[in-house]
Amino acid sequence: MTVTAPRGPMGAIAPPPEKNGLGELRLAMTHNLRTSGIYVALVALVALFALITGGASLSAGNVTNIVLQYSYILVLAIGMVIVIIAGHIDLSVGSVVALTGAISAITVIKYDMPWWVGVLAALATGLLIGAWHGFWVAYVGIPAFIVTLAGMLLFRGLTLFVLDNVSLSPFPDEYGVIASGFINGWLGGYGYDVFTLVVFALGVVGFAVSQYRSRKARMGYHQPVPPLSLFALKILAVGVLVMAFAWKLASARGLPVVLIMLAVLIMAYTVMMQHTVFGRQIYAIGGNLAAASLSGVKVRAVNFWIFVNMGLLSAVAGIVFSSRTNGAQPGAGNMFELDAIAAAFIGGAAVTGGVGKVVGAMAGGLIMAVMSNGMQLMGIDQSLQSVVKGLVLLLAVAFDIWNKRRAGAH
């Protein structure tokens, strides 16, 4: 993971800022706040709901519940932020979640195949749908908005068709493990799961090491880095928050299987977006399509694979969702696309493409999740919840634009 360069308001030839400790620290703080505002907002939101609900929102059971309940939105948000970085949009993912879940259910429940055959069938369906979208967007040149709007109708219709308009359930128990399974008791513990804590502790150490190495590398190339004190503070804060989260999970049911899957996906896609040629070409296409194509980027191929990937991740979300609801419903996944899109934009992706991060989209998704969950705990009416979510999306993007305007006031 790389740290975004501080986007100073300094002109090209302005001298580097003076090295007086306090001023430097303040400068670094504001820079960091600008790039990590979204994470601060997430923490603040969690604290806010904890206060309002008298700690109920932070109960071990509820924390676990949030993870289980929103994991599939986060999976979709990974694919969606990539699509958005490339300058596209995908409105069909909700329908694709429904169709892939239905295919899996038909395979496993109707035709009595083993659970993993259902999983494979769903994944294959997702890949096919992605290739279908990719073909129209990349090779025919129809805007993704239109292609996926058509896909949204098309695949919802196919879902209704294959399910004959009725729900299909239940799945065998093994299938349920995907969304509702836990790893617990591998290393024992009294009232809490040691294994969960160990896994998270390793994660925190890994994060600290990678951040430290990245900082050292930047210093080696004479690039600006936040002062060591602030760096240590940041690592410490992240470590404490993550371990608090781990403690909650450990004292409930242990490590959710779906969380492991999500963590692997987040890491893999972060690496892909930051360190592979493919990922970098996605940013290049979104940032300036013409320049990318004149630099030898095979724009069509990249666009095609972006949508294939979105199809695949939609299928993963479809599997998780069908597993969680223990069946397939004709109306499954309704409006999921909007949650995924909102997550990406709240997480800092730019409407015009070229800007965005997988981790940012995850934070954006979690903000939506914490809000929904908190409001449910407070017993707020569904209609009002929707109003609040809409306003938060609008304000988050407005804040982002305002921030950029201020930073780039020229």
Binding site: G8, I13, Y221, P224, N288, K298, G354, A409
Partner: protein, 512 residues
């Protein structure tokens, strides 16, 4: 006591971390053409934004007097009401609207009940078009006009607002010589009608020919105001004032040592992507190692189209022709293949076609060579950073760090980033389209030096430019292109502006 229409006194303007205008004092006499010169980043555009109210009163220091009255503009509307109109470098026309609609945009001619009076609109537009010498119907869509004609529409739009002071920001940067001449002629005609003009330009010979007085700004401060009629004032004098030192010459010296032919293009014919006409028609040229070859042509002659179609067929529909690299036929069908064959093409429009302005210097520099910096699809970040660092030093890119966002750099530094990006692909032939458009004198000299360094290492360069002096100053050999055909070829030593212009306008007049 001269009659000043505009006086700007001790103007200061700061942005967080940088002082854009430290102390600028500047005044324009009624009815004169006044040029403002300065290197990029000197503060010219900021000054004009202060004047036109883009930066509202209170956000800058100093005072502005227009027609003797102190001005406190809080937006462009205020300054336009006073009679100050600014025409920006990037034209502000709506391509899908007609000429008449554009002229009266935001200043609509209304009839009864506040509805737009279209008859009046068309009639007045037709008169304004006559005034600026544009022979087009008011109903023509602006998007169908060439840049030169669009510029005239902008001026007509300014006239519709009863302009007293017209500010032109780089008016001829995107125009060919014919259109530029026409535009400057128009400025003189407006002068005869009593309209004062301020021209910001990098093209100093145009300033010398048009302006009555020239104010030079450097590092946010007024250096001096020169009377262009004075005997010792010429282009060299302005340059010295702009850079604060003597420039040996605009073009660095180089002794040509042409070697073997690196790139040869034979009978190259390309069709327009949509229309049924040939854009490049049987063009042939060659470039030798250690040689800089120029392609001179007016806008619409097919210069860019020729270069782009050779560069992996990235323009138009290929019809026929052959490319040979080092004597062997090659046929790169994609940009990636062309890069692999040792071709590189620096686009004329670096912001639209050359750079990802949102991304960092490092990532822009590595953009075209990325597959070479990767193993199994994973980019070697250390190698990438090292190469970017090295490019930044050797190309003398001025920026806070390699992680700086390219969109915030000056034009000259952006151009160096684009050049770095292409040099990193290790090309044998570097095609540069308009190498120095919109960048200041100092940076131009550096770009020419970098071109020289590149050919001295045994590589070849093709320069495409509208600036004939630039071609004469940098190239060893020059081809003239007209209507998609090569109409002649000269060693630079035998060429001059007249000879080239004759060939460039041979056969048919270029359109637009």
């Amino acid at each position: 006591m001269p009659d000043y229409i505009l006086e700007m006194r001790s103007i200061t303007k700061s942005f967080p971390g940088v002082k854009a205008l430290a102390d600028v004092t500047f005044s324009a006499q009624r009815g004169e053409v006044h040029a403002i010169c300065g290197e990029n980043g000197a503060g010219k555009s900021t000054l004009m934004k202060v004047l036109s109210g883009v930066y509202p009163h209170g956000s800058y220091g100093g005072e502005i007097l227009f027609e003797g009255e102190p001005c406190e503009f809080s937006g462009i509307r205020d300054s336009e009401r006073a009679g100050i109109v600014i025409i920006h470098q990037e034209l502000a026309l709506v391509p899908h609207l007609s000429i008449a609609e554009n002229i009266f945009l935001g200043n609509e001619r209304r009839g009864r009940g506040g509805l737009i009076d279209w008859h009046k609109t068309q009639a007045e537009a037709a008169e304004l078009l006559k005034a600026v010498g544009l022979n087009e119907e008011p109903t023509t869509q602006v998007g169908q006009l060439g840049v030169g004609k669009q510029q005239l529409v902008e001026i007509a739009k300014a006239l519709a607002k009863d302009v007293k002071l017209l500010i032109l920001d780089e008016p001829t940067a995107a125009l060919n010589d014919n259109d530029s001449a026409h535009l400057l002629d128009l400025v003189r005609q407006l002068q005869a009608r009593g309209i004062t003009s301020i021209i910001i330009s990098h093209k100093l010979n145009e300033i010398e020919a048009t302006a009555n007085r020239t104010t030079v700004i450097r590092d946010g401060q007024t250096v001096e105001t020169l009377d262009m009629e004075a005997p010792d004032v010429n282009v060299d004098r302005i340059v010295r004032s702009m850079v604060g030192r003597d420039l040996e010459s605009f073009y660095p010296e180089r002794t040509p040592t042409p070697g073997k032919v690196v790139l040869e293009v034979r009978d190259w014919t390309v069709r327009h992507p949509q229309q049924d006409r040939l854009v490049v028609d049987g063009a042939s040229f060659e470039v030798r190692a250690g040689e800089v070859v120029g392609i001179a042509g007016l806008m619409g002659a097919g210069r860019t189209e020729l270069a782009m179609s050779v560069f992996g067929r990235s323009y138009g529909r290929f019809i026929s022709g052959q490319t040979l690299m080092h004597g062997k036929p090659v046929a790169p069908r994609t940009v990636a293949e062309a890069i692999g064959r040792g071709l590189a093409y620096v686009t004329e429009d670096r912001k639209q076609l050359g750079l990802n302005l949102l991304d960092t210097i490092t990532r822009n520099i590595s953009g075209a060579a990325l597959p070479n910096l990767a193993k199994w699809g994973f980019v070697d970040a250390n190698l990438e950073a090292k190469l970017a660092r090295h490019s930044m030093d050797s190309m003398r890119i001025k920026a806070p760090s390699v992680q700086s966002v390219v969109g915030k750099l000056s034009g000259g530094n952006q151009q160096k980033v684009v050049l770095s990006k292409w040099l990193l692909t290790g090309p044998d032939v570097l095609i540069i389209d308009e190498p120095t458009r919109g960048i200041d004198v100092g940076a131009k000299f550096e770009i020419y030096t970098l071109i020289n360094e590149f050919v001295e290492s045994g590589k070849a360069v093709v320069v495409i430019s509208s600036d004939l002096l630039e071609l004469l100053g940098t190239c060893d050999r020059i081809y003239a292109l007209s209507g998609g055909r090569i109409t002649g070829e000269f060693p630079a030593s035998e060429a001059n502006e007249e000879k080239l212009m004759t060939l460039m306008t041979k056969e048919k007049e270029a359109i637009g």
